[in-house]
Symmetry: C3
Subunit: 210 residues, 3 copies
């Protein structure tokens, strides 16, 4: 019979996987938003924003569960500050994705520039990779590919973002429209950055523990 000396450790891994799963849901909702453009889809976009808000609340609950578990755990599977950092960077991704959807509704934006689809595709892929990585966290193995790929995705996202900025300021849009669209595009870029922060945090945890 094998004794489990540190029963509480389990839940951190499960909760990180849960957090990443919320991000997969969030990235999926962003994809739906892209398919709901035009003046006729205002009500549809409002519904999508509502579901995004619900997803963000669910993610918040998971984040708070991690913080509470951390505060009440005597033994943790890795450094307390790293657990805190990982939970809070995962939470940042969701906040940025939710903000993007929220702003589209708040400003009544009916059409997004084509480049936004590239940004969203990158986020969908990063969310999937992150969800798989969280499941490998316990073993602390085979994570190198994950953070290399997320860093590559972030570089690609950066290129899309820069092309979008140049497009926004090209003179095609009036100043108020540029301001509105830029906020949406900035939030999505913020989400890609936050995915990279998650990967960097995972890398530093693995380096320390190995």
């Amino acid at each position: 019979m094998k004794l489990r000396l540190t029963p509480r450790e389990t839940s951190f891994y499960d909760l990180f996987a849960e957090q990443a799963d919320h991000l997969v849901v969030g990235a999926g909702i962003l994809t739906e938003l892209l398919g709901a453009g035009g003046p006729e889809n205002g009500a549809e976009r409002a519904k999508i924003a509502e579901r995004m808000r619900a997803a963000e609340h669910a993610a918040d609950d998971t984040t708070h569960k991690i913080y509470n578990t951390l505060n009440s755990s005597f033994i943790t599977p890795f450094d307390r500050e790293d657990i805190y950092a990982l939970a809070s960077t995962l939470d940042d991704v969701m906040d940025e994705m939710e903000e993007a959807v929220d702003l589209v509704n708040l400003y009544g934006i009916q059409m997004l520039p084509a480049g936004v689809a590239e940004q969203v595709d990158t986020l969908v892929r990063a969310a999937e990779l992150t969800a798989m990585a969280m499941r490998k966290l316990r073993g602390m193995k085979d994570l190198t590919e994950y953070w290399i790929e997320v860093n590559r995705l972030e570089n690609a996202a950066d290129q899309s973002y820069r092309k979008l900025l140049a497009h926004l300021f090209s003179g095609e849009y009036d100043a108020l429209t540029v301001m509105k669209l830029k906020e949406v595009v900035d939030s999505l870029e913020g989400a890609a950055d936050a995915f990279e922060h998650v990967a960097n945090t995972v890398e530093s945890i693995v380096v320390k523990e190995s």
Copy 2:
């Protein structure tokens, strides 16, 4: 006779109360600014900005006193990093409030949208609650109501902020005016966020210590 083994602990509580009192002063100055609109009150607004700057410097002094006390204290009433975090989040509130007043003067803004008064009322209330909470910090008791109420206020502030954004982009203002007003409104929203960070920091300190 009772010996005091940790005489230095006292000053942290006093200094946190002092920091919060500066915030009550700052929020009061914001209220004065709202009453000094119009082209005829430019000189009055400049004077208000000067007093705000003085209040911000006084708050900075208190923050540095906390950092210095922290660096020279062998024993602290709670975790060093939590003392640092509490002092620096309290300082953030003041910075955001001062920035709002400063921008109004720098950009020569003569009138603020009505929704700004809602933002300021929330800040006044949050400052009062924070000042009371800092006085309860030593006992680590009866603080639950404080952080629930500050979180509620931040949600209300968030609603005011979103209504203000929609109003700014409604077409009533030209693009340059939107840019100027948005910076002021963003600073005030930043102050409300910072009050929530203070409350979250207090909550995490109480959870740890209890």
Copy 3:
């Protein structure tokens, strides 16, 4: 014969000096950019941006060397978190300087307002002072003048920045141009702020260790 018990300590000081030297290079490239205005110098500005990108990558490499050394060192010359904070604030300066040059190219800005030269002069001076200070870090002596002077420079930079903002919003520029120029000016102001953070980090290290 004197034994060296902590051979690894050396490299941290060398690496911090290396990081600061990258900042001197970066500030020099900013000065070159100022001399390459006008529609006829677009290709020149693109080349300058390329060199800035290279300088930023070199700085990144140094930063990662510091992080890796930190992760693999059992003994460090001062607190691990302070080493981390110093490396990451030095890195922030470079990121902001690189962003400024990048945006000038991305937005095709052909002329910068005169006040930008004041901002850049301040950055050149702050970079030189920081490079000298990093070389005094081992001795932990004669650093007071450095952080007083960098704080003074940051206050001067703040004045230049505020004058620039008032100028940008004076009505001389159209809204889209204001948005583009403000991003450049904000990045340079961010670099000045980051230099001050470096100085504050050095101050807090010296206070702790002395």
